[in-house]
Amino acid sequence: MDDLSQALESTSSQNPDNDIARLKRAYINEKCAPELLPFQGELLARVTEQVEQQEATVSSSRAAAAAGGGSGGGGGGAVDDLMAHIYHAELNRVRFMLRAYYRTRLFKIEQHVVHVVKEEEVFARLSAREQEYATGYTNMVEEHFGSVLGQLPERYTSMLQQIEEDEGEFDMVPEPSLDKHVFCRVKEDRGDFIIDPDDPENTFDLVHNNIIMVRYRFIKALLEEDAVELI
């Protein structure tokens, strides 16, 4: 029983320092933010490895138990089953978060794919595979729209500009709105903080564990520094 509670403690998502808790935060942040956040490559690699190791351990112990004779000691067998059950539940939850994290990012990429591919700074936040995905998706969309747009009169055929002009802006490319309001919890004391750079007299006292609702644009920098988390 001591082993059990110890094992649970180390993987508990209440423990803020472990990778699973970090994954959960990364997923929630990604879900709430209106734009793409930097890809947490290292975190995901570590969690994926842990999941695979965990799976291998559980299935090899299951195999060992099965091979060791079906009627292995009653009491010992039941606890092992319970452990396996708990490990499986945990694995499923972690796998869910991994899948959801990848999915959320893919959806965000697709929503504003031309913007993502055009803006270097945004494109750099994607993992290598996501970058491949984004360029692939852009090409597909261009081809599909092109099948109809190509029949329009010349100079109207572009999907980036309403009418093609050398100096015209790309007025047909949507961007995510950074003015969307988000809820966030403050993770460290920051004292008086100037929320809106255009309104420097209006400061707000940021105290640990405060929850505030504010436009994403204003806390973007804080989020990057990990001083707040979105909820």
Partner: protein, 202 residues
């Protein structure tokens, strides 16, 4: 004059009034009509410009009536273009959603309603997602599983139609109609999506 943009509006209404998640048949006729209308507008614009140039005046100093006509035709083309894109874009979104809900096999019934280009899009998109999910060069996780957080790692399911025998982690399972089985979630999920089995309420 009042006919400008009417066909475009038809297209937009077509897709806006359809139920979300369904795909009405691709309205090739109206799309073609809208495109032709744009070409007509363009011809009018070119004619107006030619007339002005023949009279010897520069475009900037042209008669305000003519200038207004050119502008109206131009805006009409832009409006039609916008309507076309709304139509195409919304349909494209729904086609895309099919890959996530239904999987790589496109049901015949739906396929009939898609244009040639949309079918091509579905195939390419499927391939794109598969590549991203795959073990080689991809993240190695099937992303269409677990749309909601999992509660149990085994589910009780009832078989809806005769499916035959399948091989699971626990051995072979015979899926004949109306039998009940206890299966691993990740093995049951694709079959639930396909509609072969259903999860039993607790």
């Amino acid at each position: 004059m009042s006919q400008f943009g009417a066909k475009g509006a038809l297209l937009v209404r077509d897709i806006a009034q359809s139920e979300k998640g369904t795909l009405p048949p691709y309205n090739d006729e109206v799309v073609r009509a809208v495109v032709d209308e744009c070409q007509e507008h363009h011809k009018s614009i070119m004619k107006l410009i030619r007339d002005i140039q023949e009279q010897g005046t520069s475009l900037d100093a042209a008669n305000p009536d003519d200038a207004a006509s050119i502008l109206v035709h131009h805006q009409a083309v832009l409006r039609n273009k916008r309507a076309l894109l709304v139509y195409l874009n919304e349909r494209m979104r729904r086609v895309r959603a099919l890959r996530w809900e239904v999987g790589t096999g496109l049901p015949e019934v739906v396929g009939e309603n898609l244009s040639h280009s949309e079918r091509g899009f579905f195939t390419q998109y499927s391939a794109l997602v598969n590549r991203y999910q795959g073990r080689r060069g991809g993240v190695g996780l099937n992303l269409t599983l677990d749309p909601t957080p999992p509660k149990d790692h085994k589910v009780q399911v009832r078989v809806l139609e005769d499916y035959g025998e399948i091989v699971t982690r626990d051995g072979a399972v015979d899926l004949s109609k109306n039998t009940v089985h206890l299966m691993w979630r990740d093995e049951a999920q694709p079959l639930i999506t396909e509609g072969v089995i259903e999860q039993m309420a607790e």
